[in-house]
């Protein structure tokens, strides 16, 4: 009985890994790197994390987790509350309904899906920001951010894959 409860808790705690990794991704959006090629825009690590985990571990990346991580990123990066959460909720919702297209397919197909998803996320975030400020924002930073995000995704996905094998194998 005791052993079973302990095991249940272990599974639950390990199950928080995707959410924690997303939290780290959110913090990375705000940390000063000071690298010449890395700013003023940084890749959208949070979009990568929500995309990856929704497709490969949907039960560990529920919509409300994406929503809360979005709120935290909004507060940290100084954009209106709701601006990033709407993006992450959209990514989570769309990936959840389309995940069968990607599961068990080659990495290239997953990457292609990510390009579409990140492109849509960039376009929507630009539209929301412009609507919110009633000002057409310069689209170039968003395009640069999109390209960076897509370019960095394979490395991040590889890392998430390692984490999945090392940690999450023990979780259902």
């Amino acid at each position: 009985m005791m052993v079973e409860t302990a095991k249940l808790w272990q599974v639950r705690l390990l199950g928080l890994t995707p959410a924690l990794l997303t939290l780290i991704a959110v913090l990375l959006a705000a940390v000063p790197f000071g690298l010449p090629f890395f700013g003023p825009v940084v890749p959208s690590f949070a979009v990568m994390s929500v995309f990856y985990w929704t497709i490969f571990r949907p039960e560990l990346m529920p919509g409300w987790a994406a929503f809360i991580m979005g709120l935290i990123q909004d507060a940290l990066t100084g954009v209106p509350l709701g601006a990033t959460s709407i993006i992450l909720v959209l990514v989570q919702g769309i990936c959840l309904s389309q995940r069968k297209v990607f599961v068990g397919k080659s990495f290239a197909i997953g990457w292609w899906g990510f390009v579409l998803m990140a492109g849509a996320a960039a376009a929507v975030s630009w539209a929301i920001a412009s609507l919110y400020a009633l000002h057409l924002h310069d689209p170039r930073p968003v395009v640069v951010q999109f390209v960076l995000t897509v370019a960095v995704y394979p490395a991040v996905a590889w890392f998430f894959g390692r984490v999945e094998i090392a940690v999450l194998r023990r979780v259902g």
Partner: protein, 278 residues
């Protein structure tokens, strides 16, 4: 499992609606929206400070190597600069004496009460639509909303959210930044308006204003929100009536700032003020 799918769809719609509602409420300046943001940055500040430490170490290592490479040039440059500055020191001392004397004669009593708080920048001005940074100091260190923020050479922005231990600075380049300024020796008044680009625009200059590239731009203190005379930058270009300014400080690479606690001077309205020296 249709019920599960239905629940998922319901949750999705609910969270989307919630996000939109939050956006609308932020737009309408609900007070609690700002409080929520401040609460989040307060909690996240230690995490960000911890994460920014290694990147800062790496940066200082890079700087150290660069410095070693340019040691000789730098030495020579500093000698020349030192010579020039010693001359200026003499000038400044003389002017300070003159200024004090004249102020005494006129019984001027408008010296602002200024105090400085030094803080570290713990977040990058990252993001495609905003130009803000987070500081690791807040109300418990004496910061308040509206305080002026300077980095080694000049004014960089204003505190727009002050939590207990962290606060947010709106940089002069942000789309929402409007700073009353004076330009050049004629001290023409205008507004420095950010547009998220690196070079903010100078707006509302009087039609008669003569502005040329290289003119110094300082805060005017109009409106009483900011101390007057803080250097911001210089005029970078004048084309087709559009005047752009180049900030003195590289706003993408700020590591430390000084927050200016400024008390608006109370006008001296005692009767003796108008009776002249006794």
């Amino acid at each position: 499992m249709p019920i599960k799918a239905l629940a998922q769809r319901f949750a999705f719609a609910l969270l989307l609606a919630l996000s939109l509602a939050l956006l609308a409420m932020s737009r309408a300046d609900f007070v609690w929206a700002e409080r929520a943001r401040v609460a989040i940055i307060d909690v996240a500040e230690p995490l960000l400070a911890a994460l920014s430490r290694p990147t800062q170490l790496a940066r200082s290592a890079v700087h150290a190597v660069e410095d070693m490479l340019h040691l000789q040039d730098e030495n020579q440059r500093l000698r020349q600069e030192n010579q020039r500055l010693q001359h200026w020191q003499q000038v400044a001392l003389r002017l300070e004496q003159d200024n004090a004397l004249l102020r005494r004669l006129l019984q001027v009593n408008t010296d602002p009460q200024m105090a400085f708080v030094t803080a570290r920048v713990v977040s990058e001005p990252a993001g495609a639509f905003v130009r803000t940074v987070l500081l690791n100091a807040g109300q418990r260190d004496g910061l308040r909303r509206g305080d002026a923020v300077t980095a080694d050479l000049g004014f960089v922005g204003r505190v727009i959210e002050a939590g207990q231990r962290a606060s947010r600075v709106l940089l002069v380049t942000d789309l929402n930044s409007r700073i009353p300024v004076m330009v050049g020796t004629a001290r023409s008044r205008g507004i420095l308006a950010g547009d998220n680009g690196p070079l903010p625009r100078l707006e509302y200059l009087p039609g008669s204003a003569q502005v040329s590239v290289g003119d110094r731009i300082v805060t005017s203190g109009d409106g009483g929100l900011l101390p007057p005379g803080l250097a911001i930058g210089e005029v970078a270009s004048v084309t087709d009536g559009v005047v752009r300014a180049r900030p003195l400080v590289d706003l993408n690479r700020i590591e430390w700032v000084q927050v200016v606690r400024y008390e608006q001077p109370q006008p001296n309205l005692s009767p003796s003020r108008f009776l002249g020296p006794r």
